[in-house]
C-alpha cells in the first residue's frame, strides 16, 4: 500500500465510489439508482484490487454487477407501477437523521478501533482462499449454501400459481 500511484488510485476510486453512492440516494429514477449502484460496486471492486485481492475483485464484478444488479433490475421491472419517477416522501427527514446517526457511529468505530497493521505482503492466491473456505470456514460456507438453497426453493414456492400446485398435488 505504498507508492504515489496507489495513493492517487485510492483517492480517485474513493471519490468515484462516493459520488456513485450519493447518486444512488439522489437519483429520482429507480433505474438510474440501480445503475449508480453498479458503479459503486465497480468502485469497491477497484478497492479490492488495491488491496491485492484480485480474486475477490473479480468475484465482486461477476456476482454483484453481473448477477445482483441484474436481479434488482428485474425486480424493478416486474413490479407494477413501481414509480419510475419517485417524488419526495415524508420519510425523507427521519431517514436523513437515521443516516447521520449511523454515519456518526461508523466514524466513531473507525477512529476508536485498534487497527492492527500488517507488514508483509497480504496477497492471497485463489487456491489458498478455496482451501480456507472448505477447511477452516467449512461450517459457515455450508450454512450459507443451505440458506441460499432455502431461499431458492422459497422463491419458487412463492411464485407458483394455484393451478401448478394442484397439478403437483395430483402427481
Amino acid at each position: 500500500m505504498e507508492g504515489f500511484g496507489v495513493t492517487v488510485a485510492f483517492w480517485i476510486l474513493a471519490a468515484f465510489t462516493l459520488v456513485a453512492a450519493a447518486g444512488v440516494m439522489v437519483a429520482r429514477n429507480l433505474l438510474h439508482a440501480v445503475l449508480f449502484l453498479v458503479l459503486t460496486f465497480l468502485g469497491i471492486a477497484g478497492f479490492f484490487v488495491l488491496l491485492s485481492a484480485e480474486f475477490l475483485a473479480m468475484a465482486q464484478v461477476i456476482i454483484y454487477v453481473g448477477a445482483i444488479a441484474v436481479l434488482i433490475l428485474f425486480a424493478i421491472l416486474l413490479t407494477p407501477r413501481s414509480g419510475r419517477q419517485n417524488s419526495e416522501t415524508r420519510f425523507a427527514l427521519p431517514a436523513t437523521l437515521l443516516a447521520i446517526c449511523l454515519a456518526a457511529v461508523f466514524i466513531f468505530v473507525i477512529f476508536d478501533a485498534d487497527w492492527s497493521e500488517v507488514e508483509e505482503d497480504p496477497s492471497l492466491a485463489a487456491s489458498e482462499l478455496g482451501e480456507a473456505l472448505v477447511s477452516t470456514w467449512v461450517v459457515p460456507f455450508e450454512i450459507a449454501s443451505v440458506l441460499l438453497t432455502a431461499a431458492l426453493v422459497g422463491a419458487i414456492m412463492l411464485v407458483r400459481s394455484p393451478e401448478e400446485e394442484a397439478e403437483d398435488a395430483l402427481a
Binding site: L78, L158, S161, P162
Partner: protein, 369 residues
C-alpha cells in the same frame, strides 16, 4: 388465473412496418410476458378497391388487376379470372392453350412456394440462407416468364379464350432443364431444414389447426391439406385438363406449421411431375380462341375456382350483358386463411405467433385487394 404475481398485459403492434409481416399487415398482439393473450389483425393498408374498379372496365381490361392482387402468383390469378369469364360466356379453350395454362400455373406454384417456404423459414430465424437459395431457383422460373410474356412478376399472360402469345422456341428446352434440376434442389432444401432439430422444434406443434376447425373455418390450400384433409381442386374439380396428369395430393399429419411446410415442399415435387407430363404431351394447334375484345357475356353469374398456390382462388362474376362485369368478386385464399389467426396465435409466445403467421403464407396484396 389468480397467480400471486400479477402481470399487466402489454400491447405490441407487429406491423405495419415489421420485418416479418410480409407487407403492410398489422397484428395487434396483447402479450402477458412472452405469452400471447389476444391477437387482432388490422388490414386494409393496401386496399385498392379492385372489385369496384373492375365494374368500370371491360372483361379483358380486368386481367391486369388480377395480376396485382396476389403479386406472387399472377399466372394463377389470371387463370382463375379467365376461367370464370369463360364459364360465364361459354368459351372453349383449345388444347394447346390449356396445356400452356397448366404449365404456367404449375411454374407459378413452384415460384410462389419457393417464396412461401423461404419467408416461413426466415420467420423461424434461419438467417436468410434458405430464402436466398429458394429465391435463386425462383429467379429461373421468373426468367421463363420473362421469356414468354416479357414480365416477371405481373405477367398478364392469360387471355379470355387462351393465352396471349404462343410459347417461344427456347421455352420448352429451358423449362425441361429447370424441372430436371428442381427435384435435386428441393432435396437440398429438405436436407437443410426438414430434419433440422431447431427448425422442427420451432415449427412442430405450433399453430395447430384441427381438421374440424380447418373445414369449418373455410381454410384452403396447404393450410387445409396440412390438417390432413385430402382436398385439391385440381383433383376434385379438374380444370384445364388437369385430369390428364398423374399427381398426388400431399396431406399432413397434425395440422401444425411443420406439416404446412412439408406439404408445400411436396407440392413442389408434384408440380414438377405435372410439368414433366405437360411438357411431354404439349399439343400443337392454336393457343387461343378468338374472343371479341369488347366481350358481352350473357346475363348470369359464374363462380370458377382454381387451386392457387395459397389455396382455393375463386372468382365470382356477375354479368348484366354489359361490356364490364356487373359484380366482380375475388375469393382471396390468404384472407380467409387468416380467419383462424387468433386460434393459431393465442396461447403461444410472440415467436410462435410470428411462425404461425409465416406458415399461413399471406400476400397482403391479396388480403386487401
Amino acid at each position: 388465473m389468480s397467480s400471486p404475481i400479477k402481470s399487466e398485459p402489454f400491447v405490441i403492434n407487429v406491423g405495419p412496418q415489421h420485418p416479418s409481416t410480409h407487407g403492410v399487415f398489422r397484428l395487434k398482439v396483447t402479450v402477458d410476458g412472452e405469452k400471447v393473450v389476444d391477437a387482432e389483425m388490422i388490414i386494409g393498408y393496401l386496399h385498392r378497391s379492385m372489385e369496384k374498379l373492375a365494374e368500370e372496365r371491360t372483361y379483358t381490361q380486368n386481367i391486369p388487376f388480377t395480376d396485382r392482387t396476389d403479386y406472387l402468383s399472377s399466372m394463377s390469378n389470371n387463370l382463375g379470372y379467365c376461367l370464370a369469364v369463360e364459364k360465364l360466356a361459354g368459351i372453349e379453350v383449345p388444347e394447346r392453350g390449356q396445356a400452356i395454362r397448366v404449365i404456367m400455373a404449375e411454374l407459378q406454384r413452384l415460384a410462389s412456394h419457393c417464396m412461401a417456404v423461404g419467408a416461413f423459414v426466415n420467420d423461424t430465424g434461419a438467417w436468410q440462407t434458405p430464402i436466398m437459395w429458394l429465391l435463386r431457383e425462383r429467379e429461373r422460373i421468373l426468367d421463363l416468364f420473362e421469356m414468354t410474356c416479357g414480365a416477371r412478376l405481373t405477367c398478364n399472360y392469360m387471355r379470355i379464350g387462351g393465352v396471349a402469345f404462343d410459347l417461344p422456341k427456347d421455352f420448352v428446352p429451358q423449362a425441361r432443364k429447370l424441372i430436371r434440376d428442381m427435384p435435386g434442389f428441393i432435396d437440398e432444401v429438405e436436407g437443410l431444414l426438414s430434419e433440422n432439430e431447431i427448425f422442427v422444434a420451432r415449427s412442430r406443434d405450433i399453430a395447430v389447426i384441427p381438421p374440424e376447425l380447418a373445414i369449418n373455418a373455410s381454410l384452403t390450400g396447404p393450410m387445409l391439406r396440412g390438417s390432413g384433409i385430402a382436398w385439391d381442386i385440381r383433383k376434385a374439380d379438374p380444370y384445364c385438363g388437369y385430369e390428364k396428369y398423374d399427381f398426388a395430393i400431399p396431406i399432413g399429419y397434425r395440422g401444425d406449421a411443420y406439416d404446412r411446410f412439408i406439404v408445400r415442399l411436396e407440392e413442389m415435387r408434384q408440380s414438377v411431375r405435372i410439368l414433366e407430363q405437360a411438357l411431354d404431351g404439349l399439343p400443337g394447334g392454336p393457343h387461343s380462341t378468338q374472343v371479341p375484345l369488347a366481350l358481352r357475356p350473357p346475363a348470369g353469374e359464374a363462380y370458377a375456382r382454381v387451386e392457387g398456390p395459397r389455396g382455393e382462388l375463386g372468382y365470382y362474376v356477375v354479368s348484366d350483358e354489359g361490356p364490364s362485369p356487373f359484380r366482380f368478386h375475388i375469393r382471396p385464399p390468404s384472407l380467409i386463411n387468416l380467419s383462424v389467426l387468433k386460434e393459431m396465435t393465442v396461447g403461444g409466445t410472440v415467436a410462435d405467433a410470428i411462425v404461425a403467421l409465416g406458415s399461413v403464407d399471406i400476400v397482403v396484396g391479396e388480403i386487401d385487394r
